[in-house]
Structures are given as structure tokens and as C-alpha cells.
């Protein structure tokens, strides 16, 4: 891309920015573990099981 075109693109980006660090926080990618698409930063690396203590039922939980 020529220098002039690059400059024009940079100016357009500065004026109307569709991508950047704030958008990247929420950009989704496959998360694995049956979660579907989730933000890249939140992708879990493992799961474990636990028991919910909210009430006496004690439902089984899978924690990511």
C-alpha cells in the first residue's frame, strides 16, 4: 500500500474506528468445553466439578 493510501486509511481509522483494544475485549472465539463462542480472554483451560451450596439441594456444578 502506498504511503498516501496508508495515511488516508490511518486518518479514516482515527475518525471512525471500528477495531481496537476495547473491541478486542469482547471479540469471541471458540471456547471449547461445550461453551461455544466466548471472548478470547475468558477461554477456560480446564474444568472441575463442585457442589453448589446455595440451598440444600446440592446440585452438581461443572466449573470452567
Amino acid at each position: 500500500m502506498k504511503a498516501g493510501e496508508k495515511l488516508a486509511q490511518a486518518a479514516r481509522e482515527l475518525l471512525h474506528q471500528k477495531r481496537g483494544p476495547l473491541t478486542a475485549e469482547l471479540v469471541r472465539a471458540p471456547g471449547g468445553f461445550g461453551l461455544g463462542q466466548i471472548p478470547v480472554e475468558k477461554k477456560p483451560d480446564a474444568t472441575t466439578t463442585a457442589v453448589c451450596g446455595f440451598c440444600s439441594t446440592g446440585c452438581g456444578l461443572e466449573l470452567h
Binding site: L15, H16, Q17, K18, R19, G20, P21, L22, T23, E25, L26, V27, R28, G32, F33, G34, L35, G36, Q37, I38, P39, E41, K42, T47, E62
Partner: protein, 576 residues
């Protein structure tokens, strides 16, 4: 054969009748090493060895992409919603929303009604309605919203946002959420990335009763349905922004159903930088217009001695106002983008108008000091007649751009369709603030100039004349501000009654102070209007006191303009 086998190993029958007994610890260890069928399935699922189970949400997604005249929308089955808030949790977690700020893009509220014999409670889940005429998008001064032409999803461009929070005022449903940490707003995008992969939005997938689904709706049909005002009881009228969410139920909700938080009357955010922006820009515009009027009557009032000082004071206060406005932005370094929304946003138009106003005001004020400036810079001035003509033209430009700026300020609030911010109320408030503070500032500047130039006599007449008009205007404003109290008599808890309850309840201290300062300022102005025979020092003291009290009163009035707002919203829950 069978007998040979049974001689080596105990038969299955025998094993069942006589299980091997291990010591307890070994028994538990052995059991722990075995996985149940559920656990084995869970392991394979977690390892993505199984394809995501689409049969559970296949029916909750549309089969085809929307065609022309159609878009995607949420559909909520009110009969299935139990208010469990799995949708809220899933939206928060699967979008990675901020825990510290308690960020939520979906919320659950409650409607209740019926009779004591047949009471009815209905939980309601709500997120962004991806409206046909999104107020967030129209009002945004920097074009940080896009409505997808095919799916109709209203998406927020996080990196374009400057954090002005105007969309939080224009949206009738409290959808955009301001993140102080990031300095921007964020909102639901119907999990557009997930939908693009054929996956359901987080709320759709999480609901255990499949109450939320995504449907394709006809835009024309949504527009037509909005005419019936049948969006959801207790919610703002669908004719403001035409929300596309459908709430369906096979039961008929009782006609007396109201939101659970209907009786909660709570004040809104103060927006102090906006308070200062509005008051000081209006003061500045008012001062310049008063100067123009005085200039027209210059022969009678001979106030020429004051105009150079007055224009500088008005200019400085105007520039202070524009500086104060930047503090309202979450990301002020991108404030230059604010004119991008000029086609639809009154905030963009206001920014442009006041930008032009400031430039014209600088040139106008400078022309009053043309001689000292020219002497300092060592340049020759054009003839006096030309200078006067240019100054005259600039004076009109300043007044005109300032007036346009004030009109834009009015429109910013009028388009939100809130009764407390109606056209009549907002226009009268803003115009009277400009007149009152403009005249008070001009009187003060004239007296200061008269004192500095040892020519008090020439300005006294003008100051007395201005003060008589100021008294009347200040009284009118005070009366108009007190008008809200009449709404206390209303039986129905409408928007204005809620505002009135706030003014006499939670906000009674600032309201009382506003009235007190306004009355005092008016009294001092009245004393000035009758003070033709007062000594210069006494007149100056009255002018200072009047200006200070009136300014304080107007700042408090504008604070109440924001805080006493009763925000229309979707039905909320019982609680604080």
C-alpha cells in the same frame, strides 16, 4: 466346558451373591477410580469430542437469514419465564462482562396485578430491543452505533465511543451501560458472533425453560404493532424507538398490572459537567446578546465604556463552559469526533454551533481591543469605519451562533421524549437562564468597567435599566420553576408527579436552596433597579450579590433538571 470354567473362576451368580470385600479405604479408592456413565459423557463433552448439542437450541434459532424488510429479534415466552436469571448470569459470564462494575446487559423484572382472589405475577426478561429507530444510534455524536442492514442487530463500536453517555439518556429502556473503567458504554449485541456460527446467544442457550428465542420479524409488522401500544405493560411506549422484541403469552395479563418497582421514586445522576456547560454557555450567549441589544441602544445608554470588558468576560466564561464539557466525556482525547453525527445528532450540531460561536466570540472581543493588540504586534489597523462594520457583523454572528447553540442544547433533551425535558419546559428554562445571567453579568461588567475607567456615571443608567428587566425575568423564571409543584395534586403517579415528589422529598434541600438564592438574587436586582441614587460602591456590591445568587440559583436549577428526572424504563424488580 462350563464346569471347567467354573472350576477356575467363580460364576457370575456366585460373584453377585458373594461380593469381594475390601478394607474400607481400598473400597473407596476403587470406587473413585471408576467413572459413572454421566461422568464419562461429561468428560467427552468437555474435551469437545462431542459436537455441541444443537437439538437443545435448534428450535430457538431461525432457520433462515432475514430477507428484505425483515430482521432478527428476541422473542420472550412469558409463560415459560420463571425469573430464575440464568439468562442474566449467562450473558454476564459468556460475554466476559465486568464483575467489579456489576455490568449487566440483560435484566429480569416483575409485573404484578390481578385481584386478592386471583393475584398475578409475571417475570419479564429484557435486554436490548434492537429497535427499528434506535435512539442510541440517532443521538450518538460520533457514529459509534451501527444497525446491520440484514440482521437488524444494533451494534456498538467500542473503540469509536467517546463516553459522552448521551445514549444512556436517549434510550427509553436503560440498555447502554456506562463503564467508568473504560470510559465507554457497552451493550447487548444479540451475541452476533455466536449467531454467525449458528450458535445461540448466551441468554437463549442458558434459559432452562427455553423462554428466550431468536425470531425473524417483519419490520412493517413491528411498526404496525407499535400503533397498538401493546409492547409490554409498564414499559415505555413502543412508538418512541419501535422495539422489535416480542413478548408472547397465551394468558391475558390483568389490565391493572404494574411493574414491581412502580412506586419507587428515585433521583437520577447529577451530570455536573453538563450542568456547568449548560449554565455557562447560556450565560455567555446571554451576555453577548445583551451586549448587542445595548449596542443598538448605545446612543441612549452610552454604555460604550463597558463593552470591551463585557465581551472579554462573556468570552472567558463561554470558553470555561466548553472546557467543562470535556469532563463529561469518558475519553475526551477523541472529542474531535463529536461532529461526525451531524446528520442525526443534536449533540454534534451543538458542538459545531458552539465551536463557531467560540471562534466568532474571540474575534469579536479582540476587535474591542484592536488598538492595544495592533500596537503590541506592530501592525497597522484598517480604517475605523471598516472595523466597526466588521465588528457589527461579528456581533450578529456571535449572537446568532450562540442562539443556535442554545436551541441545539434544548433539542438534545427534548428528543428524549421525557416530559420533564419537554420542548416548552426546556426552552423556557434555557432561554431565561441566558437572559438572566447574561444581563446580570453585563451589569457587573459595566460597573467594573465604569469603576476602572472612573466613569461610573456613564454606565449607571444602563445598569439600572438592565436591572429592571432582570427583576421581571428572574421572577418569571422562579414562577416557572415552581410550577412543578402543581403536579403534586395529580392522583396518577406519572412522570411529572414523580419529579414533583423528588423535588419536595429527596431533593428538597437543593430545591429550597434554589428558590432561596433565586429570590435573593431577584431582590438584589430589584434594589439595583430602584437604586438610581445609590453610591457606586453600594451599586457594585448589589450587582455582585445579585450575580452570585442568581448564578447559584441557576446552577441548582440545572442540577435539579438532571436529578429530578424520573427515568422511564422496563419493569424492574422489588428491592432497593
Amino acid at each position: 466346558m462350563v464346569s471347567q470354567a467354573s472350576a477356575v473362576l467363580p460364576s457370575r451368580e456366585k460373584q453377585r451373591r458373594e461380593p469381594v470385600r475390601l478394607p474400607l479405604v481400598q473400597h473407596y479408592l476403587k470406587e473413585q477410580q471408576k467413572l459413572t456413565a454421566v461422568e464419562r459423557f461429561s468428560q467427552r463433552h468437555a474435551a469437545d469430542a462431542l459436537a455441541p448439542d444443537t437439538r437443545y437450541y435448534r428450535d430457538l434459532l431461525p432457520l433462515e437469514r432475514p430477507g428484505p424488510g425483515e430482521q432478527l429479534s428476541f422473542q420472550v415466552d412469558l409463560d415459560a419465564c420463571t425469573g430464575c436469571k440464568a439468562c442474566v448470569t449467562a450473558c454476564h459470564r459468556l460475554n466476559g462482562l465486568d464483575d467489579d462494575e456489576g455490568e449487566t446487559w440483560r435484566s429480569v423484572g416483575l409485573l404484578h396485578g390481578g385481584t386478592p382472589e386471583a393475584p398475578v405475577q409475571q417475570t419479564v426478561t429484557t435486554a436490548c430491543h434492537h429497535c427499528l429507530d434506535p435512539a442510541c444510534m440517532k443521538g450518538c455524536p460520533v457514529g459509534a452505533y451501527e444497525k446491520d442492514p440484514v440482521t437488524g442487530i444494533v451494534k456498538h463500536l467500542d473503540d469509536q465511543c467517546i463516553g459522552c453517555q448521551y445514549c444512556t439518556l436517549t434510550c427509553p429502556y436503560e440498555v447502554p451501560q456506562y463503564s467508568k473503567k473504560r470510559g465507554i458504554v457497552r451493550k447487548c449485541d444479540m451475541c452476533s458472533d455466536r449467531l454467525a456460527e449458528g450458535e445461540p446467544p448466551a441468554c437463549v442457550q442458558a434459559c432452562p425453560n427455553e423462554a428466550i428465542s431468536i425470531r425473524v420479524v417483519s419490520r412493517a409488522r413491528v411498526l404496525e404493532d407499535a400503533q397498538g401500544e401493546a409492547f409490554l405493560p409498564g414499559a415505555p411506549s413502543p412508538n418512541i424507538t419501535v422495539p422489535t422484541t416480542t413478548y408472547k403469552t397465551q394468558r391475558a395479563l390483568p389490565r391493572n398490572v404494574i411493574p414491581a418497582d412502580f412506586h419507587r421514586v428515585r433521583s437520577s445522576h447529577q451530570h455536573l459537567p453538563l450542568v456547568l456547560l449548560l449554565v455557562l454557555t447560556q450565560l455567555s450567549v446571554g451576555a453577548f446578546v445583551t451586549d448587542l441589544v445595548l449596542g443598538g441602544f448605545e446612543a441612549q445608554h452610552a454604555a460604550g465604556v463597558g463593552r470591551p470588558y463585557q465581551s472579554v468576560v462573556a468570552l472567558l466564561l463561554g470558553l470555561l463552559a466548553l472546557g467543562a464539557s470535556v469532563f463529561h466525556l469518558g475519553r475526551p482525547r477523541y472529542a474531535f469526533r463529536a461532529v461526525l453525527g451531524i446528520r442525526t445528532s443534536w449533540m454534534s450540531r451543538e458542538a459545531l454551533a458552539f465551536g463557531l460561536f467560540a471562534q466568532a466570540a474571540v474575534a469579536y472581543a479582540a476587535l474591542f481591543w484592536a488598538e492595544p493588540i495592533a500596537a503590541t504586534l506592530g501592525i497597522t489597523l484598517p480604517p475605523d469605519e471598516l472595523l466597526l462594520r466588521v465588528r457589527g457583523a461579528l456581533g450578529i454572528t456571535v449572537a446568532a451562533t450562540g442562539a443556535i447553540g442554545v436551541i441545539c442544547s434544548v433539542m438534545i433533551y427534548q428528543v428524549t421524549s421525557r416530559r420533564w425535558w419537554s420542548a416548552g419546559r426546556t426552552t423556557s428554562r434555557f432561554v431565561l437562564t441566558a437572559a438572566i445571567l447574561g444581563i446580570a453579568t453585563t451589569s457587573l461588567s459595566l460597573l467594573a468597567a465604569g469603576g476602572l475607567e472612573h466613569n461610573l456615571r456613564s454606565v449607571r443608567g444602563s445598569v439600572v435599566w438592565l436591572s429592571s428587566h432582570l427583576t421581571v425575568l428572574a421572577l418569571v423564571k422562579l414562577g416557572l420553576d415552581l410550577e412543578i409543584l402543581l403536579h403534586l395534586r395529580e392522583r396518577g403517579l406519572g412522570e411529572l408527579k414523580r419529579t414533583a415528589l423528588l423535588v419536595v422529598g429527596e431533593l428538597r434541600a437543593p430545591a429550597a436552596l434554589r428558590v432561596g438564592l433565586g429570590a435573593l438574587g431577584t431582590l438584589f436586582a430589584f434594589a439595583m433597579a430602584r437604586g438610581a441614587s445609590l453610591a457606586g460602591a453600594e451599586l457594585a456590591l448589589l450587582a455582585v450579590l445579585s450575580w452570585a445568587c442568581l448564578l447559584g440559583g441557576e446552577v441548582l436549577e440545572r442540577t435539579l433538571f438532571f436529578r429530578a428526572l424520573s427515568v422511564p424504563k422496563m419493569p424492574g424488580a422489588i428491592g432497593p
